[in-house]
C-alpha cells in the first residue's frame, strides 16, 4: 500500500527561472531531485520540506508547498493518522520521527505574561545600568558561616559544593555525536566557550578534538555508557546522568549502524557499523538508592570536584521523583518537558508521553521548597524553550537555567523537517554523511549560536529592566511577576501564579 501514499509536499520548480545549474540536485540530502531530460525533476514523496534546495537555488526558482489535496477532510482521521496507518500496513514496524512533539497541546508559555514597572517602581535601563545574568549551578547550603579577621574582613568557613558558572542562564541541551555531526558539536563547544555557558556531549562520548572545551562541557552518562571512562568523566565541568529524555520518556536510544563511522566508533568505543543501543533504564539503576550509588560513584571518580546532574523526563509524578533525586545527592536536576527534541524516537511515544515543562517545573520547584531542599539542587528546565520570553518565564517559575536544543539547531540552520533519524540532514547537522557534514562550517555555526545567545541575553536584560530588577536571581522563582491568561483555576494553582488582572 505504501507505494500509493501521496506525497506530503510538492516541489515546484519554476522552469522559466531555472538555469539548470543542478545545484539543487546536489544539495538535497534526501535524493528528491534529479536532472533528467535537461530539466530538474522532483520525486515529491521523498521531499522532507527541509528547505535546503529552496534556500540555495541561486535563481530562487524552487518552492515547496503542502500537497493540498492529499486526503478528504476529516477532523478525526487526520492525514497523519491515515499516512501512518498505510506505512504500518506496509512495514509492520514502529514509526520513527525526529525533533520535538509538534502536536496541538496547549503551550503554557503562551498563556503566561510577565509584569513590568510603571511609576511606583522605576524600570531600569540596561544600557545605563549593570544588568546581571551570571548564574552558578550547583548545590548550595542553607546557610554560611564566616569568621571575622583582625583587619575587619571576613573569611568563609563553610565548605561549598562545586559550582559551575554561567554568564547567561542557558546551556545547550544534550545532543550526541552520532545523532549530530562533529562539526555541529564543535560549533556548540566553541559557542559555549565564547558565551561562557555549557554544551552537553549527549550520550555519544567526547571526541578528542573537543577536549579543549572541557571546562564548558557537560559530559553525559547515559544507559548505553558509550564513551564513558575515567578520563571522559574528568574532562567535563559537570557530569550528567541521563535517566530520561522529554521526547521519549521511558525509552532508550538507538543509533543505527549506518551512522557509526570511524570517528563515531572511536568516540563511543563501539565497532564501526554496529548499532548503538541505549537500554530504556540504566541496568544499574532500578531504584532511587541505585541512582544515589551511581551519583556517588561518579563523585568519587571525579574527586567531588564536579557537580553531578540528573536528567529526567517530565512525567506525571515528576515532583516526587525530583525530590528523591535531590535527596539522593544530585547537585543539579535537569527537567526535560514533552516538547523536547530527539534525534530519533518512536512517533507514538514522542506524541503521547510526558507532560509540559511549565507544569513540571512549577510542580518540582514548589515541592522542593515545601520540603525545604530547594537550595540543595539547581534546576535546569528544557523542552520547547523557543525564545528569551520562554526562558524568562521558565526562570520566573523557578528554573536556575534553561537548556536549548532545538533552538540551537535552528540557529545552526535547521529547518525542523524532523527527519533527523534518517541521517540525511541536508544542512549537515543531524547526519554523518561526509558530503553533508562538510556543509556546516563550525566557525560560522558557532558565530550563529553566539549571536543567538547574545540576542537572548540582551532581551533577558531588557525584561529584567522592565521588571525593575538588575540581577537574574531576583526573577528566579519570582512567580509574583507572572500572570496567567486563559488558564483554569487548577492550571493557575499548579503554576503557582495569579490570573492577569489580579
Amino acid at each position: 500500500m505504501s507505494m500509493y501514499l501521496p506525497a506530503e509536499f510538492i516541489v515546484q520548480v519554476d522552469y522559466s527561472r531555472c538555469r539548470s545549474c543542478r545545484r539543487c540536485v546536489a544539495e538535497c540530502g534526501f535524493g528528491t531531485l534529479s536532472y533528467q531530460n535537461d530539466r530538474v525533476i522532483a520525486d515529491h514523496k521523498k521531499c522532507a520540506a527541509c528547505q535546503r534546495c529552496v534556500s540555495t537555488c541561486p535563481e530562487g526558482a524552487i518552492t515547496v508547498i503542502h500537497n493540498p489535496l492529499a486526503y478528504k477532510k476529516n477532523y478525526h482521521w487526520t492525514p497523519e493518522h491515515i499516512k501512518n496507518l498505510h506505512k504500518q500496513a506496509a512495514t509492520g514496524g514502529k514509526l520513527l520521527t525526529g525533533g520535538g512533539n509538534d502536536k496541538v497541546y496547549k503551550s503554557y508559555f503562551d498563556h503566561m505574561v510577565l509584569d513590568a514597572c510603571q511609576v511606583t517602581n522605576p524600570s531600569i535601563d540596561p544600557l545605563r545600568e549593570p544588568m546581571e545574568l551570571r548564574t552558578y549551578l550547583g548545590s548550595k547550603p542553607d546557610s554560611l558561616s564566616f569568621t571575622c579577621l583582625e583587619n575587619g574582613e571576613y573569611k568563609l568557613e563553610t565548605e561549598m559544593s562545586p559550582q559551575v558558572r554561567l554568564e547567561v542562564p542557558i546551556v545547550f541541551a544534550a545532543m550526541s555525536f552520532g545523532a549530530i555531526s562533529l562539526n555541529a558539536h564543535k560549533a556548540l563547544a566553541m559557542a559555549a566557550k565564547e558565551c561562557g555557558i555549557l554544551y552537553n556531549t549527549g550520550e555519544g562520548g567526547l571526541h578528542k578534538e573537543l577536549y579543549a572545551y572541557g571546562d564548558r562541557t557537560i559530559v553525559q552518562v547515559a544507559s548505553g555508557r558509550f564513551g564513558v571512562n575515567h578520563e571522559y568523566l574528568n574532562q567535563g565541568a559537570v557530569v550528567e546522568i541521563k535517566c530520561g529524555q522529554g521526547a521519549k520518556p521511558g525509552i532508550g536510544g538507538h543509533l543505527p549502524g549506518e551512522k557509526v563511522n570511524q570517528e563515531v566508533s572511536q568516540t563511543r568505543m563501539i565497532p564501526v557499523g554496529s548499532d548503538a543501543i541505549s537500554p530504556a533504564p540504566h541496568h544499574d539503576i532500578y531504584s532511587i538508592e541505585d541512582l544515589s550509588q551511581l551519583i556517588y560513584a561518579i563523585k568519587e571518580a571525579t574527586n567531588y570536584e564536579k557537580p553531578v546532574c540528573v536528567k529526567i523526563a517530565a512525567v506525571h509524578n515528576v515532583a516526587a521523583i525530583a525530590s528523591g533525586i535531590a535527596r539522593a545527592g544530585a547537585d543539579i536536576i535537569f527537567l526535560d518537558g514533552f516538547r523536547g527534541g530527539t534525534g530519533a524516537a518512536p512517533t507514538i511515544i514522542r506524541d503521547n508521553l510526558g507532560i509540559p515543562i511549565e507544569l513540571a517545573l512549577a510542580a518540582v520547584d514548589e515541592r522542593l521548597r515545601r520540603e525545604g531542599i530547594r537550595n540543595k539542587v539547581s534546576i535546569i528546565a528544557a523542552g520547547g524553550i523557543r525564545s528569551s520570553g520562554d526562558m524568562a518565564k521558565a526562570i520566573a517559575l523557578g528554573a536556575d537555567a534553561v537548556a536549548i536544543g532545538t533552538a540551537a539547531l535552528i540557529a545552526m540552520g535547521c529547518r525542523l523537517c524532523q527527519k533527523c533519524y534518517t541521517g540525511n540532514c541536508s544542512w549537515g547537522i543531524a547526519t554523518q554523511r561526509p558530503e553533508l557534514t562538510r556543509r556546516l562550517n563550525p566557525e560560522k555555526a558557532a558565530e550563529c549560536l553566539t549571536n543567538m545567545i547574545r540576542g537572548w541575553s540582551l532581551e533577558l536584560k531588557e525584561i529584567l529592566g522592565s521588571l525593575g530588577v538588575n540581577a537574574v536571581e531576583s526573577l528566579r522563582g519570582s512567580r509574583e511577576r507572572l500572570r496567567g491568561v486563559g488558564l483554569s483555576d487548577t492550571e493557575l494553582d499548579i503554576l503557582g501564579i495569579k490570573p492577569a488582572g489580579r
Binding site: N121, E153, G372, A471, R476, R479, E480
Partner: protein, 365 residues
C-alpha cells in the same frame, strides 16, 4: 479582614535618629522631622518605632496588637494566655486627634515565657523562635488581630493618617527612646488598614522603608522555606524577616547581611582580592534569593543598632547626618536640619553601602 489585602506598592518618607550613648529623647523631634516631609506621604499611613521606652519591663516581650473587634481581642488573649505569662496588659494610651478616624482596638502586653513552654517534644527551642511562631500564628491564623511589634523594651506605633497625626494620636511626646524611626506613607492604593503602615517589626527588629521590593515574589518564597509566613502581602515585611533569618538565626554578621540584601555587583566582586572575592561570590551564590531588588531606602533598627541601606543603584534618596553622639538618617537632608541644623557631618548614603550605627562601647541601655 486583616491580611487579605493585595500587595500595595508605595512611595514614602523615612526618618530615624539614634543616640549612640543611649540618651533618651521624647518623640517630639522625630515627629517634627517626619512632618517636614509631609508631601512625601498622602495620609494613608504613618508610624514610629521607639527603643528603650519600657525600662520597667525591659525583660518582657512587649506586644503591641491591633484588633478589629472585642471578640478578636478575647480570642487572641486566650491564645496569649496559653503561650505566655501576661504580667501586664492594657490599652495603649491615645488622644483624640481630629485627622485620625476609626482607629482599631489597640492594646499592649508585657509577656514572659515559662521555661516549660520552651520544650517541644523534650527539645529546647530558642525563645525567640518561640516568639516568632506566636507572631506568625496571630497574624496569619487569628482573624482581625495583628501584632505591630513584639520586641523587648521597644514598640511600634502606627496607623492610617499622616505620621505627625499618628504621633500625636499615640502621645509619643510622652515616651522616651534612644532610637526613633518614623515613616510617612504614600501608597498608590487606598486600603484603610492600620496594620499595613510602617514600621514592620519582628522581635526587636523594625523596618521603615521607602520604595518597593521588586524581588518580593522570590524573597517571600525563600522565606517560606524557612518557616516565615508572608501573608500580610506587604513587601516590607520580607526585609524584617530576612534580617531575622540571616543575622539572628544563621549568625551572618550584620554588615555581611546587608551585603547579601544589597549585594555588590559581579563586576566589583571580580576585582576583589581572592579571599574577599570568595566571600562575596559565595554570599551571592547562597543568598541570591534574599537579594532585595528594586528601589528602596530602609532604616532597620534593633535594640543595639540603626542601619540605613539603599538599593544597589540608589533609586531612592537617603541622607545621613551626625552630631556628637546623635546619628540621623532621612529621605531628605531638610528633615534632619529641621531638628538639628548644626550637623558635624552630613552625606548622601551610597548605593548598596550599609550605614551601621551601633551603641558606643560600654553603653548600657
Amino acid at each position: 479582614m486583616i491580611g487579605t489585602f493585595p500587595r500595595i506598592p508605595s512611595g514614602c518618607a523615612i526618618s530615624g535618629m539614634m543616640s549612640r550613648r543611649a540618651r533618651h529623647m521624647t518623640g517630639e523631634a522625630v515627629i517634627k522631622s517626619i512632618a517636614l516631609m509631609h508631601d512625601r506621604s498622602n495620609g494613608l499611613g504613618g508610624g514610629f518605632a521607639a527603643y528603650g521606652i519600657y525600662p520597667d519591663f525591659k525583660d518582657h516581650y512587649a506586644f503591641h496588637i491591633l484588633y478589629n473587634s472585642k471578640q478578636n481581642r478575647i480570642d487572641t488573649e486566650n491564645y496569649l494566655k496559653d503561650k505566655f505569662v501576661i504580667d501586664r496588659c492594657e490599652p495603649i494610651p491615645t488622644r483624640n486627634v481630629e485627622a485620625v478616624t476609626d482607629p482599631p482596638i489597640i492594646w499592649r502586653y508585657f509577656l514572659k515565657i515559662e521555661e516549660k513552654n520552651l520544650y517541644h517534644n523534650n527539645q529546647l527551642i530558642d525563645e525567640r523562635d518561640y516568639v516568632v511562631n506566636v507572631v506568625m500564628h496571630i497574624n496569619n491564623k487569628i482573624d482581625g488581630a495583628f501584632v505591630m511589634s513584639s520586641g523587648k523594651n521597644m514598640g511600634a506605633f502606627k496607623g492610617v493618617g499622616y505620621p505627625e497625626d499618628i504621633g500625636r494620636f499615640f502621645c509619643l511626646d510622652e515616651y522616651e527612646a534612644y532610637i526613633w524611626t518614623a515613616h510617612g506613607r504614600f501608597p498608590t492604593n487606598t486600603p484603610g488598614w492600620w496594620g499595613g503602615a510602617h514600621p514592620f517589626c519582628l522581635l526587636d527588629w523594625s523596618v521603615v522603608h521607602n520604595g518597593e521590593i521588586s524581588s518580593y515574589g522570590i524573597n517571600k518564597r525563600y522565606l517560606e522555606m524557612f518557616g516565615y509566613k508572608c501573608e500580610l502581602q506587604t513587601d516590607t515585611e520580607v526585609v524584617a524577616y530576612l534580617v531575622d533569618l540571616l543575622h539572628r538565626k544563621q549568625g551572618i554578621p550584620l554588615d555581611l547581611t546587608c551585603k547579601a540584601l544589597a549585594s555588590p555587583f559581579w563586576k566589583d566582586i571580580d576585582k576583589m582580592k581572592p579571599e574577599q572575592r570568595e566571600v562575596f561570590t559565595v554570599l551571592r551564590q547562597v543568598y541570591g534569593s534574599a537579594l532585595l531588588n528594586g528601589p528602596f531606602s530602609f532604616i532597620i533598627a534593633n535594640s543595639g543598632a540603626m542601619i540605613g541601606l539603599n538599593d544597589r543603584i540608589k533609586l531612592r534618596p537617603m541622607t545621613v547626618g551626625v552630631k556628637d553622639d546623635m546619628v540621623y538618617m532621612a529621605s531628605e537632608e531638610s528633615a534632619i536640619r529641621e531638628i538639628c541644623p548644626d550637623l558635624d557631618e552630613v552625606w548622601a548614603a551610597k548605593a548598596g553601602e550599609p550605614i551601621i550605627v551601633e551603641l558606643e562601647e560600654g553603653v548600657k541601655v
